[in-house]
């Protein structure tokens, strides 16, 4: 976040950068590599990193000031998440997933439900937003997880997949079909807030991902999971609207984390081209390289401004759906393009696991896929721009 951030936040970012340089940068890189051979050992490192970040109070960022949060606006919060994402987007994703789960609660939850979630986050806990299913990605209408009313309770059954924080969350926002007779968008879908330890809710198999490997992505399984009606977020049948509202906000956060990847790819490239001498001069003195760096910088900065604009709209309470789609798509594409170019600039070294840009390129790809693929974002933007045909 280059612009609009407060002096308070600039100062906080220095602290966070200092922390990440010492406690995240190499550790996260090691954990990522180790994860291929020894998941358990890698996870130990990751949990230690997360613990340190929690101690700094990053988990409390979304909590309103009157309830004990630091009271930073969304742009400041985003700048902090971008900074963490620069060091490891998987780690940043953990905190993004908190925002995502919390957004559903803030959109539809009661004061009591909100306060409970703030309390959990305040204690260093995590949230998980459980929407995606094996047969229902962007198309929610295909969902098969059900919640059947039984007296005053609901009994949930089904399986969610690609759930960030699936194995570590303390509260889960789970979407389930409460009425099979109507389409999800028309009143068949309902959101539930379920806490860890509830019988019948468990984390399933862990996803073996291409990138953002330091985030905890797993299935979340519901087997005769009985919850009282007080767990419903908002109204029965309004789940689709809650999910869509959440995704709108999530898209911007997703863009923010993508920016971290892009910025890191720029930083790594700049350092490399200054140091690497070829044909008797540093690569940086080569105009072709300068042009590449310029394009990387412009793509990233343009996406950053779009994200900042979308966040400003949210903070101002204005309609931000279109801006969010544009921001997510631009930032995701920028991250992929910039990381790919960074690998190209590094040449053979870029393709090696010994240099961090290889990881950045793998990390970047997801930002064109999740929270609505970039094709979906283009659909949203295209339709909105063209209007009624």
């Amino acid at each position: 976040m280059a612009y609009f951030i407060t002096d308070d936040c600039k100062d906080l970012i220095k602290d966070i950068r200092n922390f990440c340089e010492n406690e995240v940068k190499e550790q996260a890189y090691e954990a990522e590599k180790l994860g291929y051979s020894d998941e358990e050992a890698a996870d130990e490192i990751i949990m230690e990193i997360l613990g340190g970040i929690q101690e700094m109070g990053i988990g409390t960022l979304p909590i309103p000031e009157e309830l004990g949060g630091p009271g930073l606006c969304r742009i400041d919060r985003a700048a902090i998440i971008e900074e963490i994402s620069k060091y490891d987007s998987g780690i940043a994703m953990t905190f993004m997933a908190n925002e995502l789960a919390l957004d559903s609660v803030e959109i539809a939850g009661t004061d009591e439900q909100k306060e409970r979630c703030y309390e959990i986050l305040g204690e260093g806990g995590y949230g998980a937003f459980c929407l995606t299913e094996p047969n229902a990605g962007c198309d929610v209408s295909n969902a098969s997880t059900t919640a059947v009313k039984d007296g005053d309770d609901y009994i949930l059954n089904g399986s969610k997949c690609f759930i960030t924080n699936g194995t570590i969350a303390d509260f889960y926002v789970v979407y389930a079909i409460t009425d099979k007779t109507v389409p999800a968008a028309k009143g068949g879908y309902t959101a539930f807030l379920i806490e860890k330890g509830t019988k019948g809710l468990s984390a399933g198999s862990i996803e073996n991902k291409m990138g953002i490997r330091n985030s905890h992505t797993s299935d979340v399984v519901l087997e005769d999971c009985r919850v009282p009606a007080s767990c419903i977020l908002g109204e029965v049948g309004k789940g689709f609207q809650v999910a869509m509202g959440t995704l709108d906000i999530a898209r911007v956060w997703c863009g923010i984390a993508a920016l971290g990847v892009a910025q890191r790819a720029i930083d790594e490239s700049v350092e490399y081209v200054k140091q690497r001498v070829q044909f008797g001069k540093p690569l940086a003195k080569n105009e072709v390289i300068q042009f590449k760096i310029a394009d990387m910088q412009m793509k990233t900065e343009a996406a950053r401004q779009m994200c900042a604009y979308a966040l400003t709209l949210i903070d101002r309470g204005e309609d931000f759906s279109l801006a969010a789609a544009e921001a997510k798509c631009l930032a995701g594409d920028a991250a992929m393009a910039v990381a790919t170019e960074a690998v190209q600039i590094h040449g053979g070294y870029g393709y090696s696991r010994e240099y961090p840009v290889e990881k950045l390129m793998r990390d970047a790809k997801i930002f064109q896929i999740f929270e609505g693929t970039n094709e979906i974002q283009r659909l949203v933007v295209g339709r909105a721009t063209i209007g009624k045909i």
């Binding site: 308070d8 220095k14 602290d15 200092n18 922390f19 700094m56 109070g57 409390t60 960022l61 630091p70």
Partner: protein, 263 residues
């Protein structure tokens, strides 16, 4: 125990500083921060009061801008901060800095109604690397002095401290009040939290003007004066050996070493 930690504000020591076109050190890329050894001293002090009770106060001599490092100190456990202005002194050397600190400390004690039992400095600063202020401060205050400590515990005599040697340690007993310098303990300073940092940024840090410290004319006269910067001579790179086979590289290296009569 009431502990005062003296903090110098220095340019970020992880940034390589070179002379700029104007012949002055180019500090543009190095954000100001508390000197590393001073932050170790503060962490040692904060851990001490957490364990044994008391409070940590921090002080810094220098321009108004030094309040930055004092606010950072407030975010990681210091209870109070005081800025001692050196406005009006040209080219303060270690002796003047120590004298101004000594005079300022008396004012802080009056203002806060405390009497410091222990005054800590880092063993040296990362910019000037002089390492003299701690010992000169002890001389100026006429207090016992122990350098390079990494541990301190209360003791019948006052304090028992662990002093680092080049190899090994000394356990030293000292009465208080005393002045000590701190080396690197086997822990790192804590990080500020978002909340502690935001709270520290709101604190108004009082400034003690030089004139109000009552420092004498002699004490504020530098004993040594700065007379210019220069670049160290550059060392030229020699031969770079890049062979596919390690054995070839080693053979080539020994050939050159033999020719250069190194062996």
């Amino acid at each position: 125990m009431e502990i005062l930690v003296c903090i110098k504000q220095v340019p970020d020591d992880s940034v390589e500083i070179r002379l700029g076109a104007d012949g002055q050190p180019d500090l543009s890329a190095a954000d100001p921060q508390g000197n590393a050894f001073d932050t170790y001293a503060q962490e040692l002090a904060v851990r001490f009061v957490e364990e044994n009770g008391g409070a940590v106060t921090v002080a810094s001599v220098g321009p108004e801008d030094n309040k930055t490092c004092l606010k950072n100190a407030l975010a990681v456990g210091a209870a109070k901060a005081h800025h001692i202005s050196d406005d009006g002194i040209a080219g303060a050397d270690a002796a003047v800095t120590a004298n101004l600190l000594a005079a300022g400390i008396k004012k802080i004690e009056e203002a806060d109604g405390v009497k410091f039992d222990l005054i800590l400095c880092g063993r040296e600063s990362t910019d000037a690397i002089g390492g003299e202020v701690g010992e000169l401060l002890a001389e100026a205050l006429g207090l016992p002095f122990v350098s390079d400590i990494v541990e301190a515990v209360p003791d019948a005599a006052g304090l028992k401290v662990k002093k680092e040697l080049e190899s090994g340690y000394l356990m030293v007993e000292t009465p208080v009040p005393a002045v000590m310098t701190v080396s690197k303990p086997d822990y790192d300073p804590r990080y500020p939290t978002i909340k502690s940092k935001l709270a520290a940024r709101k604190v108004k840090i009082p400034t003690i003007a030089k004139a109000d410290t009552g420092i004498s004319a002699d004490a504020e006269t530098p004993k040594v004066v700065f007379a210019g910067f220069e670049e160290p001579p550059k060392r030229e790179a020699g031969v770079k050996i890049q062979e596919d086979e390690p054995a070839d590289a080693v053979a080539k290296a020994f050939e050159i070493m033999t020719a250069d009569k190194v062996l």
